[in-house]
């Protein structure tokens, strides 16, 4: 099955390092051959001693030869380890980089399909399995092959029939290891899965520690964690039951072979068919066979695991984004005043049944456009689609007059400054977080952006000012500070389109005012889309769009909507009238 995967992912690296690999395997085979000769020396010595024909000098000679060979083995072993295992690490790096390079190109549906946990697992477990198979796996395979062939050859040379008897139990070992390690693999996969879910569980619990404490969930969560833990213990015991069989089994079968040699070989010596030296050498060769036999089962398992993992990695790096990203012969020039046109646009999240955007028709260009609508009416979804995070069908969305599916992603995105509804901060300095889109920005520019987002004062008040580390997900900042930081980030980029998805919801009225006034000044002539539930903010925009169930319910100016839209009227009634501030009206 997975030959195309092998070819695609592995072959280039194998080809690139073919000399290295060739040298490594040559060293490996040489090691095997040298090691096989050492028992010959021992046999020589023992035979000589039996017949009393050997002299002390002869013995010294033999010992010297053994030492010499052992010395060569040391050098050669180092060589193959460095060359072959080193190669597997090189391969690992290449694939790891390839996975990352692929992931950064993927779209939002991809990240719904693969969670952070999945992707982390792919890049550690699966990569590890491939590395093992291509490193130790290959070594063990070649080593086992050479060693067993040679050892068997030598044994046959001594006595074919005895060889057959001694080898009788070996196939059992190979077969049972194969079967057992297949089982082991399955059980081990379960263990890993459970390990991952324990990790995920503890991670998500610790991240939401505030919630856990405020809602006194400590014991409740500990119990749930305990359930996962007990499952994990059980699966580990199931693994141990097999692991506990494999290695003693190998010893058992090896010893069985030895038993055969002891019994039948002993008789042969008694009958003077073979010499005692032969007998001892035979035992030595048999010892040599135990490991390759075990290795065969192990390697088969390793290779199978490696292939499975390789398959998963292959699926990952060949998964296509649903966002078309055409390469145009002539890169289009940046647009000065781009506008969007939406024609009966529809969109549904793969995990939900109802469309989040439903037959939406709308067009907008330079100017400030307010978007409002009830919770879940599709405002954020619309913003994400406009920012090209989610795909749309052909002929539904046009950017600067061209169907977005005909335009390179980076081209569209380079036009957009985006402020999400939930600010995303990286654990870095405040300055670096603001300069995310423009790493080359000078400190002055960063400060100017911060001033425009009305966050400068707050930053200066922090201990290390712009060089303060934000802490994980910005925990050391207040909600409104985080939002304005995200805004400063978008303002710094100063792009022709600005999308603000409710990015001022946690900001007080005065600050909101200040920021918005700044926006109006700086973004004159640019296309600004701003989602908000605050009538005050909306009333200052050029035009307001009201969404309901993923479609435009109504649009127009503040005055128009006040006349005709009941949703807008009730918003107004609640938020803008003095009366309302005094006494609650019954809904």
């Amino acid at each position: 099955m997975p030959f195309s995967q092998l070819r695609e992912l592995l072959l280039p690296t194998f080809r690139q390092h073919r000399l290295r690999l060739a040298a490594g395997f040559a060293a490996l085979i040489l090691v095997d051959l040298l090691q096989l000769t050492i028992p010959r020396f021992i046999k020589h010595g023992v035979d000589g001693l039996t017949a009393m024909t050997i002299t002390p000098v002869g013995l010294l000679h033999l010992a010297g030869l053994i030492l010499l060979f052992a010395g060569m083995v040391v050098v050669l072993r180092f060589a193959w380890r460095y060359l072959i295992i080193g190669f597997s690490r090189l391969l690992e790096r290449t694939i790891r980089n390839r996975i990352f390079a692929h992931i950064v190109k993927m779209d939002a549906p991809f990240f719904e399909k693969y969670t952070t946990g999945d992707l982390m697992a792919h890049s550690s477990n699966d990569l590890g399995a491939v590395q093992m198979a291509c490193g130790m796996g290959m070594v063990a395979a070649v080593d086992a092959l050479v060693m067993s062939l040679a050892a068997i050859g030598f044994m046959i040379a001594i006595h074919p029939m005895l060889t057959l008897l001694a080898l009788l139990p070996m196939p059992i070992l190979a077969v049972t290891t194969r079967i057992l390690s297949g089982k082991l693999h399955k059980r081990f996969a379960t263990v890993q899965e459970q390990f991952s879910s324990m990790t995920e569980f503890s991670r998500s619990t610790l991240i939401s520690i505030g919630l856990i404490k405020a809602y006194t969930m400590e014991d409740f969560q500990t119990d749930r964690f305990g359930k996962l833990g007990r499952k994990y213990v059980r699966s580990n015991l199931r693994v141990a039951a097999i692991q506990g069989l494999i290695s003693p089994l190998a010893t058992l079968i090896g010893s069985l072979g030895l038993l055969m040699v002891l019994y039948f070989g002993g008789r042969l010596v008694i009958n003077n068919t073979i010499t005692l030296g032969d007998f001892v050498a035979f035992i030595t060769y048999l010892y040599m066979l135990i490991w390759p036999m075990m290795a065969i089962g192990w390697v088969a398992n390793l290779v199978q695991r490696g292939l499975t993992s390789l398959g998963r990695i292959h699926d990952l790096v060949t998964s296509r984004t649903t966002l078309p990203d055409p390469v145009l012969p002539v890169p289009p020039a940046m647009l000065k005043h781009p506008g969007y046109e939406l024609k009966n646009m529809s969109f549904r999240y793969s995990s939900s049944t109802a469309p989040a955007v439903d037959n939406l028709t709308l067009s907008f260009g330079p100017g400030i456009h307010g978007v409002t609508g009830r919770t879940g009416s599709g405002k954020s979804t619309l913003c994400k689609i406009l920012a090209r995070l989610y795909p749309v069908a052909d002929g539904q969305l046009f950017f600067g007059g061209t169907d977005v599916n005909q335009l390179p992603l980076q081209f569209i995105r380079a036009h957009i400054g985006y402020v999400g509804q939930e600010p995303v901060l990286f654990s870095d300095t405040i300055a670096a977080n603001i300069a995310l889109g423009r790493a080359d920005a000078s400190r002055e520019e960063v400060i100017q952006a911060a001033v425009n987002a009305a966050i400068h004062e707050d930053i200066v008040g922090l201990k290390d000012g712009y060089d303060t580390m934000t802490g994980e997900r910005g925990v050391k900042l207040s909600g409104g500070q985080r939002q304005r930081l995200a805004l400063a980030r978008a303002l710094l980029c100063d792009r022709p389109v600005l999308i603000i998805d409710d990015g001022l919801s946690a900001v007080d009225v005065a600050t909101e005012h200040e920021v918005f006034a700044g926006l109006k000044r700086h973004f004159a002539g640019k296309t600004v889309l701003i989602v908000s539930n605050r009538i005050k903010l909306l009333s200052m925009t050029d035009r307001i769009i009201i969404l309901a169930d993923g479609a435009v319910q109504s649009e127009g100016s503040h005055e128009q909507l006040l006349q005709e839209n009941s949703l807008y009227q009730s918003m107004y009634a609640k938020q803008m009238t003095q009366d309302a501030l005094k006494e609650p009206e019954s809904p």
Partner: protein, 610 residues
């Protein structure tokens, strides 16, 4: 396996740390019988393993080469030895299997206990601890470090014990067989020990370097994955890819130098083994020639030598595993010894019936002692009063909530509920009295139902009633599996407003005596807000509530309004009072309502008309 860890600095974990061993023993004490059993098995296995070459030797000396004895007797003797041999190898097989199982069971059970203890302990630590310890590091403690420690129980204790036993057994045997030859062989022991210790020291450094680099890769990856859309929107793919490749290259270099180290060490022990055999052949062969050693003994010596080096090599390898396990154990126990700064009284005060008065008195607080956030904040809420808290962002509103929940303790001042200092209450009790909707909404990876009910054990019917009451049924009905839909990462994502609605349902389920809403409706539309206000008014009639909000419309229901700026309370009073005072609040209202007044009046009428 997953590892979100960051750097693993500091602790070395040494074998001779008795303090650590004692703790480990404490945890394993309940399993002493099983451990004792494992030790007995271990001794049996060693004895049997060492008897095998002896049997071969007997066979060679007494039967195979005993040319003076009758052939039949030789063969009969050989058969007997063979049977003996066969029985032993099966016994070894079964005993080893039992040993693995028993030790795995003990190890896993002990680790489970440690893990549970640690998890429970972590959840009860205070928030400053979580602010200074990245989640990734804590997760690593809970998972990878404990896994590491387990390694010690299963493979290490077995091998350590078996190997040491075997080594001693072999040495004794060798000396018993031929003291002179054995004496010569002992020179390999100090040699092996020196090499091993030297190697272990180097290996430890390299293991650490590798682990740190891997942790860096993983945390970089995790952060990039969770912020991918922002990375793409701001065009950071290329530069982040380069950073990643740089990290990846660093990892490669570290693994390569580890390979070099292992490539040097592993063949060296093999070399020693061959050297020992050469020595035996030369020296022992000489002894045989001088009839001071039998041939069978020489052969046995050669086999024992092989047996001798195998555990020596394993010991050397396991040494670094043990070290890393000890380092893990040390980190775990250190964490278990971390004390929370938020402590409960030994004998907490019991509040029988909550009236619901709440008092903040002269509170001074800063997250870092040298950076004060709240300055002398005093605030009183009478039972049943609704107080609104407004103020510029970053003025310390959420901080006040954090103090009320005792996530932190103020540096000066007290907070009282019904005249009882909250520091005298049981934390659990306090947090049941005070129900809050936090500004940051967190979703547990579970069903919607579990996310609403949390630990209250609220029934399905009641939950559904709450959903109807809050107007949430509108969106729950749209979900593929209704209340049983899995939400959060890896499940269905909710919109921000929907998550806030969910928080309302949560707090309604708990029915607390004091209600605190921190920006709870910031992302909720007006109609939903109206419904919610009604629901809250119905369910929390006559209860104390503290409402933090920026939207003035949300504040209007409050009996009393408190305005904060820069960590101080600058104004308080009723809406009318504050308007009359013409201060901060009046300015805010003016700003919010300032529309050209003419059209405002006109529209106002229209709204009333329609």
């Amino acid at each position: 396996m997953m590892n979100y860890g960051y750097s693993e600095k500091g602790q070395e974990g040494s074998l001779s740390d008795f303090h650590l061993w004692r703790k480990i023993l404490q945890f394993s004490a309940p399993y002493w019988l099983s451990l004792f059993f494992a030790v007995i098995i271990s001794i049996l296995i060693t004895w049997a393993t060492l008897t095998l070459p002896h049997l071969v030797q007997t066979a060679i000396d007494h039967y195979i080469t005993a040319t003076t004895v009758a052939t039949d007797a030789r063969i009969a003797g050989l058969t007997r030895t063979a049977i003996h041999y066969g029985v032993l190898i099966f016994a070894i097989f079964f005993a080893s299997f039992c040993q693995v199982l028993v030790l795995e069971w003990v190890g896993q059970s002990v680790m489970h206990t440690v893990r549970q203890r640690l998890f429970h302990h972590l959840l009860h630590l205070d928030l400053p601890f979580f602010n200074s310890n990245p989640t990734g590091r804590l997760v690593t403690r809970l998972t990878n470090d404990i896994q590491n420690m387990n390694e010690m129980f299963t493979s290490v204790i077995v091998t350590l014990f078996n190997d040491l036993l075997q080594l001693t057994g072999i040495l004794v045997l060798l000396f018993w067989m031929n003291p002179r030859l054995a004496g010569v062989m002992t020179i390999f022991i100090p040699l092996a020990i020196i090499i091993t210790i030297f190697f272990a020291r180097l290996a430890r450094e390299q293991f650490r370097a590798i682990r740190i680099q891997l942790a860096k890769i993983n945390s970089f990856l995790a952060e990039n994955l969770s912020g991918m859309s922002i990375i793409q929107l701001f065009g950071r793919q290329e530069s982040n890819r380069q950073t990643f490749e740089h990290l990846s290259e660093g990892f490669l270099q570290r693994t390569l130098s580890q390979i070099k180290l292992f490539g040097t060490f592993m063949p060296l022990t093999e070399f020693m083994s061959s050297a020992a055999i050469a020595l035996i052949l030369w020296y022992g062969g000489g002894e045989v020639l001088q009839k001071r050693l039998t041939l069978g003994e020489l052969v046995a010596f050669i086999s024992y030598m092989r047996l001798f080096f195998q555990p020596l090599r394993e010991l050397a390898q396991k040494y670094s595993v043990v070290q890393s396990a000890m380092a893990s154990a040390e980190r775990i126990f250190q964490l278990l010894d971390t004390k929370s700064e938020i402590v409960e009284l030994e004998q907490p005060v019991q509040l029988p019936k909550i009236q619901g008065s709440l008092l903040f008195k002269n509170i001074h607080f800063g997250y870092q002692a040298d950076n004060p956030i709240l300055h002398d904040v005093s605030l009183a809420l009478y039972p049943g009063q609704t107080v609104a808290l407004v103020g510029t962002t970053g003025s310390g509103k959420t901080t006040l909530v954090n103090l009320l929940l005792r996530f932190y303790d103020p540096q000066a001042g007290t907070i009282r509920i019904d005249d009882t200092d909250i520091a005298c209450l049981e934390l659990r009790k306090l947090r049941t009295i005070v129900g809050v909707i936090l500004q940051d909404v967190f979703i547990l990876q579970d069903t919607l139902f579990a996310n609403i009910v949390m630990d209250t054990g609220c029934s399905r019917e009641k939950t559904e009633a709450i959903l109807n009451q809050t107007g949430m049924n509108r969106f729950v009905d749209k979900l593929p599996a209704g209340l049983d839909t899995i939400i959060g990462e890896g499940g269905l994502e909710l919109s921000t407003g929907e998550k806030q609605l969910l928080s309302f349902a949560r707090v309604l389920c708990r029915n607390p005596a004091i209600l605190v809403l921190d920006e709870a409706t910031a992302a909720i539309d007006t109609e939903s807000e109206n419904i919610l206000e009604q629901a809250i008014a119905d369910s929390f009639k006559g209860r104390t509530s503290l409402v933090i909000a920026h939207r003035l419309s949300t504040i209007r229901r409050a009996d009393h309004i408190v305005v904060m700026a820069h960590g101080k309370i600058v104004e308080q009073g009723s809406h009318e009072e504050l308007l009359q005072r013409n201060g901060h609040y009046a300015l805010l209202v003016a700003m919010d309502l300032q529309n050209d007044q003419s059209s405002h009046a006109a529209h106002g009428n229209e709204v009333v008309d329609s």
